[in-house]
């Protein structure tokens, strides 16, 4: 694959138009500029310009201590904040040479999966808005409120949870949590199954999404995409199975794949992953051991020994990695954030070229990128 069609050149024929989608546009979850050169209804070239919410995180992190960075890792991708906390804590724990307690591992898995639930629910909801299915958006946000209440009961916050700590988690489950969670998740399972039926049987929706924006497994591998778009193309690549962390090798779950690689499959993968995550949460609540939720010895000022670590996690959007270089002081020397949405956003322009303008909204929303993570 070449990079030619992903750079915009000026129109040469009178039938070509330059179309700018952004930086403020109803279909976007955050500001970016999508330039399209179209001829009639077909897209000839597409370019994605990012950086509108570039915060300079990597520079700011070099000036904060390890404990001060912990609440800021939430803000890298706000919809996957528990995953960000978890991967950061695992990286620093590897540098410090400590392990979280058994109960803390199960609690982290529980909050990771709850986070995946609410991220997929909002992702499908925003995708439904862009396709034109506003009812689904309202339903999804309503279901998401239930999950957010569960997270709020544990962590105390609706968004930006800041729950993991070095060697454990911040606090234990409140009393009566298991019954409340099982009741809410039982309701959620019923509703998601009915939404799945709704999405698979509506004929207009199927015509808009089946066979549109096809990303084959080979193309996805070349473009460097991971996460639900790759699994929708048939590749079984899930870090929870490939490189099991925390207690995922003790839990029973399937890696969800589809075969077609189009918009419909990507959304279907997310819907089925919601049901799979509910199953994982039920197992966690069953198998959770009693014991301390945090190591006794966690120093307030952490000074890891000099070294480096690359920690990975299966984010709701793909593979999130953090590369931390420590020089022995209480601030990191280099903190590199490898976000999954960066890879997915880079793969969007080649996917749009050759298609119709009317499909841009559906394809862009089905890739489910989080602009804050692309720009950092």
């Amino acid at each position: 694959m070449t990079h030619e069609a992903t750079q915009i050149t000026s129109p040469t024929k009178p039938s070509e138009i330059l179309l700018h989608l952004g930086p403020q546009h109803p279909l976007q979850p955050g500001p970016f500029l999508l330039d399209l050169k179209i001829e009639g209804e077909t897209i000839r070239e597409a370019e994605l310009k990012i950086g509108y919410i570039h915060k300079g995180m990597e520079k700011v992190f070099e000036d904060r201590t390890y404990l001060q960075i912990l609440p800021l890792t939430d803000r890298i991708c706000y919809l996957a904040s528990n995953s960000n906390n978890d991967v950061y804590c695992r990286g620093v724990e590897e540098l410090l040479g400590i392990e979280p307690t058994e109960r803390a591992k199960y609690l982290r898995v529980l909050t990771n999966e709850l986070c995946r639930l609410q991220s997929h629910l909002l992702g499908i909801g925003e995708y439904a808005t862009d396709v034109g299915f506003l009812t689904m958006f309202i339903y999804m946000v309503r279901e998401r409120e239930g999950v957010v209440s569960l997270l709020e009961a544990i962590t105390g916050s609706r968004l930006n949870h800041n729950y993991a700590r070095f060697g454990g988690v911040a606090n234990d489950l409140p009393p009566g949590y298991k019954e409340m969670a099982l009741k809410t998740l039982g309701e959620l399972k019923k509703q998601v199954k009915s939404h799945d039926e709704m999405l698979s049987s509506d004929s207009i929706y199927l015509r808009r999404t089946k066979g549109v924006g096809v990303l084959t497994a080979k193309e996805a591998g070349e473009l460097g995409v991971a996460g639900p778009p790759l699994r929708a193309a048939g590749v079984e690549y899930d870090l929870r199975r490939m490189e099991p962390y925390l207690v995922y090798d003790d839990l029973d779950f399937k890696v969800i794949t589809q075969t077609d690689g189009d918009v419909f499959s990507r959304v279907k993968v997310r819907l089925l992953e919601i049901l799979e995550s509910i199953y994982i949460i039920e197992q966690c609540l069953d198998q959770m051991p009693s014991g301390p939720y945090k190591q006794d010895v966690t120093p307030y000022i952490t000074r890891p020994k000099p070294g480096e670590v690359y920690a990975r996690i299966e984010d709701p959007r793909g593979e999130m990695g953090m590369y931390i270089i420590s020089d022995g002081s209480d601030k990191p020397y280099r903190f590199r954030i490898r976000g999954p949405a960066f890879a997915t956003a880079q793969a969007l322009p080649p996917l749009l070229v050759g298609g119709y303008v009317a499909d841009v909204a559906a394809i862009a929303a089905s890739m489910d990128s989080c602009t804050s993570e692309v720009d950092r």
Binding site: H3, K59, G321
Partner: protein, 155 residues
Amino acid sequence: MGDEKIDKTIMIELSNTFKDAVSDVDVPSPNRAVARIDPGKVKEIMQFLLDNGFDHLSCVSGVDYPPDKMEVVYHVTSYSAPLVITLKASLPRDDPNIDSLCGIYWNANWYERETYELYGIKFNDCPYMKVLLLIEEMEGEWPLRKDYAGYPDLT
């Protein structure tokens, strides 16, 4: 290219194939391997890894070691095995440039553009080397270098 090749024995093959270009090979854990490479041979080494099952370029980053050194760090993984190989190439800080990997891994383009605008490391033969995250007026300031004067910006 079966699964039996995609594990840490690739590091032994790598250092045998490129004797002078690969040094300081270390395998700290079963799924992580680190090596230092010669920046002039980065394209051949990456092509060798691609041919041997490492088909996913995860990340390209820059690290600044004042006063005389800068490094480019590559993380290469595979879609069929959990091993992550970290490769580091050392460059002189006054004029850092290295060959671009856009012909080998398609997604290297944006990573290289970002490393260029934040550190000033030039990637030769990279198509469309221009700023990605910053405004065009800030090209040339290299904000992530350790001696950048514009941080902290207390206005």
